[in-house]
């Protein structure tokens, strides 16, 4: 499952999504809103996505993962809107027969979501609000 959503991310649904009788391992990465950065206390993050392109790019990343590793299922969900501290912003899960592929594929998934998917976040902190400096996209 690939999804950009306004709603809270339900981790149990994501685990069900990747579960499979032939799987001996499931890895789950969960990104959450941290209460501070270099400028001090952070109270919330606002996420915005170019939804269609973001889902297309996440689907492309899923295809790459399925090509590179012998895994069973891949799932990636990113939340948008305003999130409070400790809320879940992103979840990536992978099931496979053995754990190594699941760990590696999950790391590839989140690393590439962070650098290739058109999503932006704005940080609300003691110092005011600012768009977080990110990574330039490439062709």
């Amino acid at each position: 499952m690939i999804l950009i959503t306004d709603n809270a991310i339900d981790l149990s649904k994501i685990l069900i999504d990747v579960s499979d009788n032939s799987a001996g391992a499931i890895t789950l990465f969960v990104g959450t809103v941290r209460d501070r950065d270099s400028d001090g206390h952070v109270s919330a993050l606002y996420y915005e996505a170019y939804k269609k392109m973001a889902e297309d790019m996440m689907t492309e990343i899923e295809k790459e993962v399925l090509r590179k590793w012998n895994i069973i299922k891949f799932s990636a969900t990113h939340r948008i809107g305003t999130l409070k501290v400790s809320e879940i912003s992103v979840a990536v899960a992978v099931s496979s027969e053995h754990r190594n592929e699941a760990f590696e594929a999950c790391k590839y998934g989140i690393d590439n979501i962070k650098t290739r998917v058109p999503i932006w976040k704005k940080e609300y902190s003691e110092a005011g609000d600012k768009w977080v400096t990110g990574v330039s996209l490439h062709e």
Partner: protein, 91 residues
């Protein structure tokens, strides 16, 4: 009164904006009239002239046409979905 005739054909182009670019321009979509055959590079020059703070040195943005990041030689057309994408920061 004199009238002038512009015999060049023009295209009406819509550009979506995201993240910090929305804040700089003050809207999430803009409409521009450009000569037919305008490239992404021409569009970039035109927009940064209109909004000098949206300079690539300040915000190293790229363009997407129909959901793909493209180079500056690509021409844009009336019905293309064009977007300005600042550096991404999801996760």
């Amino acid at each position: 009164m004199t009238t002038t005739t512009d015999d060049r054909e023009t295209d009406l182009i819509k550009v979506k904006l995201f993240g910090i670019s929305t804040e700089i321009v003050g809207k999430s979509e803009m409409t521009l009239l450009v000569p037919v055959g305008t490239t992404v590079g021409n569009l970039k020059k035109k927009i940064t002239k209109m909004y000098p703070s949206l300079d690539v040195a300040n915000v190293p943005f790229v363009f997407a046409v129909n959901h793909r990041v493209v180079n500056e030689d690509v021409p844009v057309k009336h019905l293309d979905e064009i977007a300005i994408l600042p550096p991404v920061s999801g996760g």
